[in-house]
């Protein structure tokens, strides 16, 4: 089995593309339609429902809505990314998973000061990957968007 250390996941939500260190990733569940128990959905808390994962129900949050990414840019048949939380895993929905790539392919790019707002900032910086700018994700920072 190929070692995934020193890798980053590239995924897309709407028109925005993201990178995530593989250390923050627990599992990828493709073709998420029907996997989420939406009876636990909470629109106010931007919770899509629950995913049954390794013997327990985990929250699946709507990161696209939290980042105000337009619904018109979203697609169905999405994947669920199970992320490593401080206490327990939780999930987000991605429109497309592009794959895992070696960390040396990514170069950190500073977020311009005029684009940084007050804390909690949704993301700390950007990655340049194959001449494209990606939002650099960290599970704990995404977690903080939900007040944790």
């Amino acid at each position: 089995m190929r070692c995934s250390a020193g890798m980053k996941l590239v995924f897309r939500i709407g028109k925005c593309r993201f990178s995530l260190p593989v250390e923050d990733l627990v599992e990828i569940r493709e073709n998420s339609a029907g996997l989420i128990d939406s009876s636990g959905a909470d629109a106010e808390r931007l919770v899509l429902g629950y995913l049954f994962h390794r013997g327990e129900n985990i929250l699946v949050r709507d990161l696209g809505a939290r980042l105000e990414i337009a619904d018109a840019d979203r697609i169905a048949g999405r994947a669920i990314l199970v992320l490593a939380g401080e206490e327990s895993p939780w999930g987000i929905v991605a429109d497309e998973v592009e794959g895992l790539f070696p960390e040396p392919e990514f170069a950190a790019v500073r977020l311009p000061p005029v684009l940084t707002g007050p804390e909690p900032r949704p993301y700390a910086g950007l990655d340049c990957w194959r001449d494209e700018l990606l939002v650099r994700c960290e599970a704990h920072r995404i977690d903080a968007l939900w007040g944790r």
Partner: protein, 155 residues
């Protein structure tokens, strides 16, 4: 900054002026990347010399018309400002003229905007001539509203 040359552009069929001394580069067919939760006044970023340069949203530009194609203009003018580099979209690069060929003056009541008080008059035409540092300073700061705190999973 001493202004010796003025660059004239068009966007949305109307013209505007910028000091050449403030221009880093005019980029054609720039690739614009979407970022979530951008502050008001910005609509994306471009990669320029290994740096992320924020792109001003033309709908926020003082006294300037929007590009014909809202999804992206032919050119991005990369400017140096006190807040760092920013990009400004343009449909067409008209020409560069010496300052002495025209006149920088205060905009009158019909053209004047709180964030664009100047114009460059050249060859009988008025070109809004925004002070980009002042304009950026007037952009509202964005706050990120929090999501209501979660309860337990058994909620």
């Amino acid at each position: 900054m001493m202004v010796t040359k003025i660059a004239l552009f068009t966007t949305g069929g109307s013209g505007f002026a910028l000091a050449v001394e403030q221009i880093d580069q005019i980029v054609s067919e720039a690739r614009i990347f979407a970022l979530p939760l951008l502050p008001p006044g910005f609509c994306g970023v471009l990669l320029f010399r290994d740096e992320a340069v924020p792109l001003l949203d033309p709908r926020w530009e003082p006294g300037l018309p929007a590009p014909e194609d809202p999804s992206g203009a032919e050119y991005v003018v990369v400017l140096r400002t006190e807040a760092g580099r920013v990009g400004l979209q343009a449909d067409q690069v008209l020409r560069i003229v010496g300052r002495e060929k025209g006149k920088i003056e205060e905009a009158d009541g019909s053209e004047r905007d709180a964030r664009c008080s100047r114009r460059f008059v050249f060859d009988g035409k008025h070109y809004p001539f925004p002070d980009m540092d002042s304009f950026i300073a007037t952009l509202p700061n964005r706050t990120h509203p929090g999501v209501p705190a979660e309860g337990t999973k058994e909620d």
